[in-house]
C-alpha cells in the first residue's frame, strides 16, 4: 500500500546523501559566503531589497510630483540626482523604480520556475508521448528570440506590469522545464527511486519525496541567475514603451524618457542606468556564488 510508507523512513533510509539536510544547507551557505565577490553582491541585493521595501520612507520626494520651476535641475544638495524634464526628483523615482524592477524580476522568474518545473517533472516522469509533446512545445517557445517573444506577447497582452510578468514568465519557462526534465530523468534511474517504487510508493509520492528534493540545486542556481536577466528584460521592455507605463517610475521607462535630454541633462539617464547596472552586477555575483556553492562543477 502506497499510503503505508512513511516518507521519513523512505527518505532517510534510501537517500544517498544521508547527512542531515540542515548541515548540508549550512555548508552550502558557508561556501556561498566564502566566494570572492559574493559579499559585494549580497550587500547590493540586500540594499536593493531594503530600498524597495522602504521606498515611501527613504524617497525624499513624491516620485510623481511635478515641479516645472525646477525642471532639468542638475544634481545638487536639494536633488542629489537632479530632476527630470517636468521637475520630478530623479533619486525618488530611482528608489521607487527599485520596487518595480525587483518585483518584475522575482515574480516573472517565480512564474517560470513553477510552470517550467511542473512541466519538466510531468515530462520526465511520464516519458513517452507526454514527454514528446511537452518538450516539442518548449522547443517551439525556445525558437523565438526571448526579447522578440516578450515583445510580441507584450503587444497582445497590453502594456503594464501584468503583461510583462506573464510575457517574461512564458519566455523563461522552457529553461526550467528542460533543466527539471533532465534532473528527473537522471534521478529516476537512481537505486533509491527503484527502492521506493519496490516498496509500493505511488508515482506522485516518489516524485514529491524523492525526485523533487534531489532535483532542486540546479533549479535554484538557474533561478538566481535568471532574476538578473529578467530585470534587464523588464527594463528593456519598459525602455521600448511596452512595460511599465509613465508616469509610474521604472528604470527602463525613465531611461527612455531621458534620452531626449542626453546633452542637456544626462543625469536623467545615468541615475536609473547606474542603479540598473549595479543591481544586475550584484545579482550576478550572488547567482554565481550560489552556483559555486551548490554545484562547483558548473563553475565557468
Amino acid at each position: 500500500m502506497a499510503g503505508s510508507i512513511p516518507a521519513s523512513v523512505t527518505t532517510d533510509a534510501i537517500t544517498p546523501a544521508a547527512a542531515p539536510v540542515r548541515d548540508r544547507r549550512w555548508e552550502v551557505l558557508r561556501r556561498a559566503v566564502r566566494a570572492r565577490l559574493a559579499p559585494f553582491g549580497a550587500a547590493v541585493v540586500m540594499a536593493a531589497v531594503l530600498v524597495a521595501l522602504a521606498a515611501p520612507v527613504v524617497a525624499p520626494y513624491d516620485p510623481l510630483k511635478q515641479d516645472l520651476a525646477h525642471a532639468l535641475a542638475a544634481p545638487s544638495r536639494g536633488h542629489l540626482l537632479g530632476t527630470d524634464n517636468v521637475g520630478r526628483d530623479v533619486l525618488s523615482r530611482v528608489i521607487w523604480g527599485t520596487r518595480i524592477s525587483l518585483v518584475a524580476g522575482v515574480v516573472s522568474v517565480a512564474i517560470a520556475l513553477l510552470t517550467g518545473s511542473l512541466l519538466g517533472v510531468v515530462a520526465g516522469f511520464c516519458g513517452g508521448r507526454v514527454d514528446g509533446v511537452v518538450m516539442r512545445l518548449m522547443d517551439a517557445v525556445l525558437s523565438f528570440p526571448p526579447l522578440v517573444l516578450a515583445l510580441a506577447l507584450g503587444a497582445v497582452l497590453g502594456a503594464g506590469l501584468t503583461g510583462v510578468l506573464i510575457a517574461l514568465g512564458v519566455v523563461y519557462t522552457p529553461t526550467f522545464a528542460r533543466l527539471m526534465r533532465g534532473q528527473v530523468l537522471t534521478i529516476k534511474a537512481r537505486e533509491y527511486v527503484d527502492a521506493a517504487r519496490a516498496l509500493g510508493a505511488p508515482g506522485w509520492r516518489v516524485a514529491w519525496h524523492h525526485v523533487l528534493p534531489n532535483a532542486t540545486a540546479p533549479i535554484v542556481v538557474q533561478a538566481s541567475l535568471s532574476v538578473a536577466f529578467a530585470i534587464l528584460a523588464e527594463a528593456s521592455l519598459s525602455f521600448l514603451g511596452l512595460g511599465i507605463q509613465p508616469p509610474a517610475a521604472s528604470w527602463g521607462s525613465m531611461i527612455n524618457a531621458g534620452r531626449g535630454y542626453l546633452q542637456s541633462a544626462p543625469w536623467i539617464v545615468f541615475g536609473p542606468g547606474v542603479a540598473l547596472f549595479v543591481t544586475v552586477v550584484g545579482l550576478n555575483f550572488v547567482g554565481d556564488a550560489i552556483r559555486d556553492a551548490l554545484d562547483p562543477r558548473l563553475r565557468g
Binding site: S143, V148, A152, V156
Partner: protein
C-alpha cells in the same frame, strides 16, 4: 554528414509547425476583440467588419489556421493594416540594414573576444586576466540600450566623432555607411564579445590542462603553436554553442539597437508594428524572425559536426 543533416531537419519540422501555431494564436490572445484592439473606437463599424472578413476572423478558428497556413506556404505573410503593403515586401526592404548590422557586430565581437579570451586564459590570474574578466562581466550586465546611450553621449554628443542616428547603405557609400553603423555595431558587438570572451577563456583553460597539450609542449612547440594547433580547435565547441545560443540575444539586441539609433531595419519594423497594433505585420515579422533563428541554430548544429568529427559519427 548527410545523415546528420537529415536527422536535424527531421527534428526541426514539428517545431516549425508548433511555431506557426504559436504565431497564429498571438492574435487570439488579445483580450477582447482583436479588431477593436487594432482599430480606434471611432472607426466605422463597416470598416471594422471588412477588416474582420479580410483577416478571416469571421471563420471558425480551425478554418482560419488552415487558410493562414495555405497563404503562408504560398509566401503570403499578410498585409499591413496601416498601409496595405505586403509584410514580406516590407521585410525585404528592411532586411539589408539588419543583416549589415548583425555582420558588423559579429565581426567586432570576434575581433575583440578572441585576443582578449586567449590572453586571459594564457595569462591566467594576472592583471591582464582580471581586466578581461571585468570587461566580460561589464558586457554581460550592461543593458544594450544603456550602452548605446553611453556611446551616443561620449562619441556622438561630447566628442562628435560619429553620427548618433540615421542610416547610409555601406554598399552605396562605404565610408559614410560604416560610420552610420559604427555605434550600433559596437553596442551590439561588445555585449556579444563579453559572452564569447568568458566562454572562450574557460574552455581554453580546460583544454590547456589536457595531456595532449603537455605532450605538445614536451615536443618543443612554441606556446603560440600549442594554442593555435592544439588548444584553439578543441576549445571551439563551447564557443560555437554559446554563439548559437546568443543569436537570440543578438536579434533581441538588434531590435533595441535599431530603435535607439533609428535604423530602418526589421527590429525597428517590429517595434513600430507593435505600437501601431498592426498585428498582421507583428505576426509576419515574428514568424520570419523565428524561422531565421531556427535555421541559424540548425546551421550551428551542423557546424558542430564540421568542427568535431565525433559528433558526425554519433
Amino acid at each position: 554528414m548527410a545523415r546528420l543533416i537529415l536527422h536535424r531537419l527531421g527534428a526541426v519540422i514539428p517545431v516549425l509547425l508548433l511555431v506557426t501555431v504559436g504565431v497564429f494564436t498571438l492574435l487570439h490572445l488579445t483580450p477582447g476583440d482583436p479588431i477593436d484592439a487594432m482599430m480606434a473606437e471611432s472607426v466605422d463599424a463597416t470598416v471594422k467588419e471588412t477588416l474582420r472578413r479580410d483577416l478571416g476572423l469571421d471563420q471558425p478558428i480551425g478554418v482560419q489556421y488552415a487558410r493562414w497556413m495555405g497563404r503562408l506556404l504560398r509566401g503570403d505573410l499578410g498585409r499591413s493594416i496601416r498601409n496595405g503593403e505586403p509584410v514580406l515586401e516590407n521585410v525585404g526592404r528592411r532586411i539589408r540594414p539588419s543583416l549589415q548590422l548583425a555582420a558588423f557586430a559579429m565581426a567586432i565581437s570576434l575581433l575583440v573576444a578572441f585576443p582578449v579570451g586567449i590572453v586571459a586564459a594564457v595569462r591566467r590570474n594576472t592583471s591582464a586576466d582580471r581586466v578581461a574578466t571585468t570587461f566580460a562581466l561589464f558586457g554581460i550586465c550592461m543593458p544594450n540600450f544603456l550602452l548605446a546611450l553611453l556611446l551616443i553621449f561620449v562619441f556622438g554628443v561630447t566628442l562628435r566623432w560619429l553620427p548618433i542616428s540615421g542610416y547610409t547603405d555601406p554598399l552605396e557609400e562605404p565610408l559614410l555607411g560604416l560610420r552610420s553603423l559604427a555605434l550600433p555595431a559596437i553596442t551590439l558587438g561588445l555585449a556579444l564579445a563579453a559572452v564569447i570572451t568568458r566562454t572562450l577563456r574557460s574552455s581554453l583553460l580546460e583544454a590547456l590542462a589536457e595531456d595532449y597539450v603537455r605532450t605538445a609542449r614536451a615536443k618543443g612547440l612554441s606556446e603560440w603553436m600549442v594554442i593555435r594547433a592544439h588548444v584553439l580547435k578543441n576549445a571551439l565547441i563551447p564557443v560555437v554553442t554559446v554563439m548559437g545560443l546568443q543569436l537570440g540575444t543578438l536579434i533581441g539586441g538588434a531590435v533595441i539597437t535599431e530603435y535607439v539609433f533609428a535604423l530602418p531595419g526589421v527590429g525597428r519594423l517590429v517595434v513600430d508594428a507593435v505600437f501601431a497594433r498592426d498585428y498582421p505585420t507583428v505576426q509576419g515579422v515574428v514568424l520570419l524572425i523565428a524561422i531565421g533563428f531556427i535555421v541559424s541554430n540548425l546551421m550551428v548544429d551542423l557546424l558542430y559536426g564540421w568542427i568535431d568529427p565525433r559528433i558526425r559519427h554519433h
